[in-house]
Symmetry: C2
Subunit: 453 residues, 2 copies
Amino acid sequence: MLEPSPEIIIERIRSALGTQRIQDAVRILLELRPVDQAEVFNLLTDEEQILLLTELDIPSTADLFEELENEEVLDAVGTLSPERLADVLDEMEPDEAADLLGDLSPARATEALANMEDAEDVIPLLGYPDESAGGLMTTSYIALRRHTTARQAIEFLRQVSLDVEVPYYLYAIDREKHLIGVVGFRQLVIADPGVTVEQIMDREVIYVTVGDDQEDVARVMSRYNLAALPVVDDQHRLLGVITHDDIIDVLEEEATEDIYHLANVTDKDLNPQSPIVDQVKGRLPWLYLNMVTALFASWVISRFENVIAEVAILAAFQSVIAGLGGNSGSQNVAMIVRAIALDKIDSREMLGVIFKQVIVGMLQGIGVGVVIGIGVAFWQNDLYLGAIVTMAMIANMIIAGIMGTIVPFIVKALGQDPALASTVLVTAATDSFGFFIFLGLASLLLPYLVNSP
Amino acid sequence: MLEPSPEIIIERIRSALGTQRIQDAVRILLELRPVDQAEVFNLLTDEEQILLLTELDIPSTADLFEELENEEVLDAVGTLSPERLADVLDEMEPDEAADLLGDLSPARATEALANMEDAEDVIPLLGYPDESAGGLMTTSYIALRRHTTARQAIEFLRQVSLDVEVPYYLYAIDREKHLIGVVGFRQLVIADPGVTVEQIMDREVIYVTVGDDQEDVARVMSRYNLAALPVVDDQHRLLGVITHDDIIDVLEEEATEDIYHLANVTDKDLNPQSPIVDQVKGRLPWLYLNMVTALFASWVISRFENVIAEVAILAAFQSVIAGLGGNSGSQNVAMIVRAIALDKIDSREMLGVIFKQVIVGMLQGIGVGVVIGIGVAFWQNDLYLGAIVTMAMIANMIIAGIMGTIVPFIVKALGQDPALASTVLVTAATDSFGFFIFLGLASLLLPYLVNSP
């Protein structure tokens, strides 16, 4: 959507800055929408960013900061005077300002709050965890009393700033700020001017409580197709509103977390360009866990050292059994984890699913095992070896079906994200069992193997 | 949010149906919101569903159908007469009606369209692929001409049905239906009644073209935080509007697809309870691909058959090197795939990322390799074997860093989803290379190994 491309815009800004036409550079930047400004700003050098910020007006700086990522905005904030930072924070949406304040050093945050004019909008938001309903909500919404007429409401709307972040619904509250109803903007517009809020409001308001987890909030909004969702405290008093765009971020974060957990990366904020130390921290612990399970599988193999010493070619096929079993198990884990995440399955249905996955595993085991068994029999000119490969494959894929279904449910029952650790545990099972069943069958049938001594 | 629980509501409905009080059962169902009705409806038996549908009024049936999943609604549709089905389709949102018609048999769909009154709203939507902007959009939006005044617009709004699906924005079009601007609902409300649409509209409308892929549509809506997004044809004529709730579905679908592709499950519509045949179809082809790569790795091992015959314990450790390398590679793939999906990386940055991932791989290789090398050295009382394990582990994790970064970019450059096949190809590399480097080093250092003959 960004035309001309960021590169061309950056060239224009650079050439303006290079000849000290800073105002021109700012004008080029401001022709873009804030999110596009952020993209371009981010590609500039620190010196160029500082030059632009000196001339950018306060409201535009606030818009820009709202669109920058956390680390990027922290870099930019460092160059502002405390007074200017406070002015910018006053102009930002309260929820965005609160997020930024939360990322500053305590000293810097306190200083900024002391200099702010509208600190009272932001302070209530500072105490909530980032990933709770309180951490997502904004205090920038419109609340009406029940006896307000449609005419008065519209008059009120004309007076308040157009910048209120929640333009879809109006919330009705009583004297103690209890949430008692919701009015759609359009209902208000088409209502008779003398009608009161109470007469047109919907009393069955869908809401969340301030401590609710962001993932539950996202589920409610997506289930009921809401553009905005009110947040209340335990006494049902209206505290803030969450908007649809926040939910999109939450869903993307949660999807990233699931994908990372399935691949054994702990920290969802990591990306391939994160500092090396952070990447190693988020990944290495899982490799150590994997090391333990892999060593257990090694120990299983080592129990069959004599068999392998006699028929060394077994070592070439043990990994096929283990690897394909692990693959089938990972397919299973991915499907179960996703079904749990999207609320499409619950533990009462587990037995039926296990039964189905055992059948799927068996069929896959037959499908792959027969082909590979025939291939191995011809390649090694050893019918028994081929038969062992087939049998071990079928058995291991049945295990993959069982473990791949049970493990995510167990991890969930332990109060953990089912995506976390499930892959490691399931592949630990398919590796160890795969080696055991293949080498075990081989040792039983050793006298029949072609290469046996 | 559903209180009392679905089970209790189902009991109440069952007891009403059991005593032939069908009207009562319908009333209990209608006390719920449509999405909750769908959840309960879905848990009833076919006979119970048919009984309810005979007494459920047309608009409620339409609301219910909009919330049911594809297969569920098809079951329910089967029990309706052609005339009744046409009436329900008339009441449904045009985009939902078009989706349902697309799932019916051609004969059934033609018959239903012939019986519909508002078929002209739906027919234009039938031709677009499900996963394009055209497949997501609804024709149920409000368009205004540029000279309409705010007062006239509000008067118009009072007349049109409250059921229009897009209550956030009004779109301004010219005589030829070209999209020329957008007006927020609130702007309209607070505008002076005599002001024209042209005077208050924003001319810089963000839009998509009807053939755009749903993933790109979702990116645009989430980037610009839009509650609704207009869809135009090549001539920039307004065809429809996509709303925020459709995008949530798209994002969840795309996340499921990424998770499934990374785990080698092709069909994103599968879930653990899908028919066994479908599950095998979506999973088995990948196991065959994996079989081929696994057999290649077996062949690599078979080249070292003599070495293994002499030092059989090598077979116990080859899998640790291959497995942990594969694990590290999968971590890499997940991070790259997610960064590509979220547009946080592009191929120009690839070299820098490869460099970083090589360092990460090396550090992880040292971190795991030294520990495991010492462990193996003590366990097998063989210093050289430990050293070989350490060296092979470091080398394999460097390969994991390189391949885990390059492969997703290559798959993407080939026009495929980078999540697809990347895991298989990367683990093929770490398996084969892992076996090769470990067994290769062992054969070079064979005379020094404790158990060597």
